[in-house]
Symmetry: C2
Subunit: 460 residues, 2 copies
């Protein structure tokens, strides 16, 4: 672990050099969302350094996407490895011409952390793509079951699908939840329900949306009404599945709704979803794009649920630095080759980097480490919430590593003040501060983070 470095901010944020750089960039590339321009050479561990020389403790981590720290030595070694160089220079069409090393790379990398009940993988390039591939797997399975095993496609199916018409292009749906985020492709976006800025002006499929439980915090004080709320949502899910205008082939859900405001539900709720989906032959997709790879104190967030049977598909991206989905059911492999396919099928260079991340996390016990640090951080935040009840509300994420959030009145202003104090931090939903520290965030960083919060709230 890196030692205790202190944040240092000597300019306004963004600083003058960041501003000028972003302006120049904007001539050729939309730079309106730039927070600051980064000197990655000088960034290290938990600290990100901008081009004005400001150094921030980073608990936003590239929108929850940096697992083991900037310029991590093991990742640097992997980046220089022959496997990565070969994959960069000789990018294969993995489905047709895999490298002789591909099998080992998968087995000694991603498959080492395959969620319980899964033993196969399909690689992709983004969480959005991974989710759409999962939807397609569920749809092919549904139609295969309807058609009958081994039954040939009809001429009518073959011809009509080229016209985007039935029966070849059937009405099939994926159920998602209010406030969810599953990506921005036309299929994944039809399941995203968090914000208009993602969805406005784009056509969408007529797919069902269920309510995500609106739990009250602290959970232990509202057990009964929260349980009733989850029961209501489960009943709604089953009602939607059984009454929708077309078959619902999959249900997709985040273990903790992240972009939508860090919304939690109980293990019992997820077990309920597992039961309902199993009952109705609906593929249960757990979208671990933001929660996976150790973010919540377990390698996969759904391990918190102790499900009686595994999810059918688990999608991942972000901290994995590559993307794809795990699955265990052979029937989710389509009846013929080339139906789930594309030119590259992911990026082997990134999959090798992912293998290095898996090794780093497992070798250094970073999941356990971050779970412990997260518990201590949560305690400090509980004290903060008591001291600043008007600024820190609905604290949540207890027992979930650093995946912690709370509501506040003016989240954008909080982020701005925190940046000026040397903490790079993010928001989600409409009123939430979300913490997405890396797995190497240590006890020594807690006072820095809490100190900045105290200064921020104390000065409001």
């Amino acid at each position: 672990m890196p030692g205790v470095v202190l944040p240092e901010v000597t300019t306004q944020v963004p600083g003058p050099i960041s501003k000028a750089s972003a302006k120049k960039l904007h001539e050729v590339f939309d730079a309106r969302a730039v927070h600051f321009v980064v000197d990655y050479d000088k960034s290290e561990g938990n600290y990100i350094v901008d081009v004005d020389g400001n150094r921030y403790l980073d608990v936003y981590s590239q929108i929850a996407s940096i697992p083991v720290g900037y310029n991590n030595a093991a990742m640097t070694a992997a980046a220089r490895s022959p496997d990565v160089i070969s994959a960069l220079v000789n990018r294969p069409a993995v489905g047709n011409f895999p490298s002789k090393r591909w099998n080992d790379i998968l087995r000694n990398g991603l498959l080492r952390v395959a969620p319980k009940g899964t033993n196969k993988i399909f690689t992709a390039q983004s969480g959005s793509e991974a989710n759409e591939l999962a939807f397609k797997a569920s749809m092919m399975l549904w139609r295969r079951r309807e058609r009958g095993e081994g039954v040939a496609w009809t001429k009518e199916e073959i011809e009509s699908c080229l016209e985007n018409a039935k029966p070849g292009s059937p009405d099939l749906a994926v159920l998602s939840f209010g406030n969810s985020f599953h990506g921005r492709g036309f299929g994944s976006l039809s399941c995203t329900r968090s914000k208009a800025v993602h969805k406005l002006d784009f056509p969408a499929f007529n797919w069902p949306k269920a309510d995500f439980p609106a739990l009250k915090y602290p959970l232990e004080k509202h057990a009964e009404e929260n349980s009733a709320e989850e029961k209501r949502c489960l009943e709604q899910v089953e009602q939607l599945i059984t009454s929708w205008h077309c078959p619902v082939t999959a249900l997709i859900i985040e273990p903790i709704q992240a972009e939508g405001g860090d919304n939690h539900a109980s293990p019992a709720f997820f077990q309920g979803l597992r039961d309902i989906t199993a009952k109705h032959n609906v593929v249960f997709i757990v979208d671990e794009v933001q929660t996976g790879f150790g973010a919540t104190g377990k390698f996969w967030a759904h391990e918190h649920w102790n499900l009686t049977s595994a999810p059918d598909i688990v999608t991942f991206s972000k901290r994995a630095q590559c993307a794809g989905y795990f699955f265990g059911n052979d029937k989710l492999v389509p009846d013929t080759a080339y139906r789930q396919f594309n030119t590259w099928i992911g990026d082997p260079a990134r999959v090798v980097m992912s293998k290095a991340i898996v090794e780093e996390i497992l070798d250094k016990n970073l999941v356990e480490y971050s779970a412990n640090v997260g518990d201590k951080l949560y305690q400090e935040l509980e004290t903060l919430a008591r001291d600043y009840p008007e600024h820190v509300q609905n604290l949540r994420g207890k027992g979930h590593g650093g995946f912690i959030a709370f509501d506040t009145q003016e989240p954008a202003a909080v982020v701005s003040k925190m940046k000026a104090l040397g903490v790079n931090i993010g928001t989600c939903g409409t009123r939430t501060i979300r913490l997405r520290p890396m797995l190497i965030f240590g006890e020594e960083h807690i006072p820095i983070l809490i100190g900045a919060f105290r200064k921020t709230f104390g000065s409001s």
Copy 2:
């Protein structure tokens, strides 16, 4: 250029080691489409070497995705560069936290080859994603024009889009052509019309499909009827745009339909599309995923057309080794930030690799080089077609570098025989052999390729 190496095949294809490797891989990763397993360390230039030690002249190039040869020295140097290593280790959320080098990487890389009339870029990870992003840009532009410049989104729009309902999620359409291939996402797949294996069992948007001109070869002998056919198709396009049940915000077309069978149309046809789209405010998207980066004897295939005004958007991927779209119209930048956005916005490591490819192509004049070699190859194929008229029909791609194809009776059998003779080659459409040589395919490789064809057809 590498010297003349000869192919060498000493086993059946795939060989026993390939077969065993693919079988092992298939336990964890769908390996049914594997042609053979590759030893990329031993592959070099135009030659791909499999794990059984067989060496093939590769004119398929990872489904048209290798630009400058296996283990190209300049690409290897780029893969080892600090820029690539940093981007691999510190993968940024480019829209929020771009590297200080991002501006230079874009300007000195992809933007050096920006199609005429374009000066901005949005980066992506696949051709499919690039096309969907282009569709979204066209839809936001359409609604911005309808809504009025600077007019705020209504409460009804904001709320309804979260329900996938109108008016927030309007019916808007993208027009594509029969036999086209634009990707496999739910939006891009709605524009793909080439094969049922891509589309069957997936819901699709009700979007218009126009006929792609069915030209007769050789073109010079059928000028009049081909011209009439193109006129018919143009009229159909305008009729679809003006009568479709909802606004058509974009038209997408490949300069040469690749997966669909290497179908060509004339510059006059594309000029007609440019005129019709301009007239009806339809965004004209040229999908150069397979034709771009020098594949057709020009850097971009649409340069063959001498359009009176540039396409609105040009998408790319494959040989570029990264993906995205170029555009020139500021209005294609959405009204607010975060509407065209995602966590990574492409992969800077791959974009740096693309910069190295641009440099290699420009420094070594590889577009001109491959155009000349392509002309010579075409002449030899004309002779072949005369000698084997039953096997080589509708030869096409004259003047388009190595982007050459012909129809044959049993394409799969031809591919199989060619592999046994040491040539790795691909098919497209239903009866077409397509050549996708790298830009470094040289005159010295022509006799090897033609010789293999002669042996293949002579033995049939």
